[in-house]
Amino acid sequence: MTETTWLIAGAWVSAGLTIFLFSFLYKDNPFFKIAEHLYLGAGMGWWFQVYLYNIWKPKVFEPLAGGDFFVLIPALLGLSLVTQFVPKISWISRYGFTFMMGYGAGLEIPARLSTDFMSQIAGTIKPFSLMASMSGFDILNALIVAAGTICVLFYFFFSVEHKGSVKKISNIGIYFLMIYFGAAFGNTVMARFSLLYGRFDDLNTSAAASNFYATQIILAAMAAYFLLHSFLGKKEQAEEAR
């Protein structure tokens, strides 16, 4: 096959799979299920070959072949995890887990202390050090951040009953949380639309004449399938419609 044939085949495959997955929005159907399972396998396959050529081969097999038996230790620790599948000897996997847990926990504690704890305190009070040169608005903002942070922390304070003034303070904290959530929601809308735009853009490429109208033909075929399906099984459809 020439390169152009491959390109056209690619356009058809990618348009087809995209439309199959989108068809779920109309309703569940075999094409979606096929695409979904294909995705599951392809994702795993992709990861598998990445691990194979980036880690197992250069970092384990090659050193082993070169006589460096030290890498057996992590390799065995890693393989021990697989004993999870055999209940009788699943305790062996504990060695793999404890290695990873210990590594992660030990690394996490000081890093969290410095990044999410000390630096955040420093960041909250730092604006006040420029007090002399700040405008009134900046001072207000610095105060809002500091007071807001304290209020939110009050909300997460579990040792005292939230009533009276504590309740008021923690309620203010909730409003700060809500603003943050609202901002996150708004941003997510943009993010998701961007992804959809990306897919539509690809579909549009596949729809070109040079790709023999892949998008249009597959779309039409899907529509035909659904029409036919609803003709043949009116009853079924009535059940599924919500």
Binding site: G41, A42, Q49, R94, G102, N141, I144, G173, F176, Y180
Partner: protein, 222 residues
């Protein structure tokens, strides 16, 4: 047996954890070398941990096919998908490009994996719209605040929204980009920082529990 099954793993988590923890405060070459070695090992262990997920996927779908369970036919496509990626990769030695020519792996990535994975996330765009319509209810003052923040953010992200703001609220002299910047850098920072600090402390305490063997649910029971 109890020593090998219980105490030794617990001792390992403690020694590993304390040494990693200590390395933060010890600049000596020995400590640097130790961390280096552990980094390399962790990288390898982590890669093997992937096998766990892969095998459980294979086992569950192989089981479906063998038992001829409902919809077992679809399970075949899991293996098809796996082979679509792995076989070309084995042929080209993991390269997507050889001498300026796209290999089979490169093709599979671009037209199969890319399409599937990106579409899965793109579907969420539809759901977010329907959530916005059906669940976004201003049922309390708190929900109202959330609503206002979200509204401004959505509006200000696109040029059309910026124009709409200009024509209605332009007289205030505050562009919507400035309002968004304020939201993101003042109240949202306070909200996020509060959550963040809380989570960080929770993580530190949990990590301490793990290192000292108080938290050992992950080990399962005998």
């Amino acid at each position: 047996m109890k020593i090998i099954k219980n105490y030794l793993p617990l001792a390992m988590v403690m020694v590993m954890g304390l040494l990693m923890l200590g390395s933060y405060y010890v600049p000596h070459k020995l400590s640097v070398d130790y961390v280096e070695q552990m980094n390399k090992w962790e990288n390898i262990v982590f890669a093997f941990a992937f096998l766990l997920g892969l095998l459980s996927l294979f086992v569950s779908h192989y089981g479906k096919i063998r038992r001829r369970q409902d919809g077992w036919g679809y399970s075949i496509f899991v293996f098809v998908g796996f082979l679509i990626m792995v076989v070309p990769s084995l042929i080209s030695g993991g390269k997507q490009m050889v001498d300026g020519q796209v290999t089979g792996l490169g093709w599979s990535f671009r037209y199969v994996y890319n399409a599937l994975s990106a579409t899965m996330f793109a579907v969420l765009a539809f759901y977010i719209v329907s959530t916005a319509y059906r669940s976004f209810r201003i049922k309390s003052a708190q929900a109202f605040v959330l609503f206002v923040a979200a509204f401004i953010l959505i509006l200000g992200k696109v040029p059309l929204g910026q124009m709409a703001w200009e024509s209605v609220l332009g007289w205030t002299g505050y562009g919507i980009d400035r309002v968004i910047e304020w939201i993101m850098s003042v109240p949202a920072v306070a909200g996020k920082r509060g959550i963040m600090i809380g989570i960080a402390i929770g993580a530190i305490v949990t990590s301490l529990k793990i290192i000292f063997g108080i938290e050992r649910q992950y080990m399962g029971k005998d």
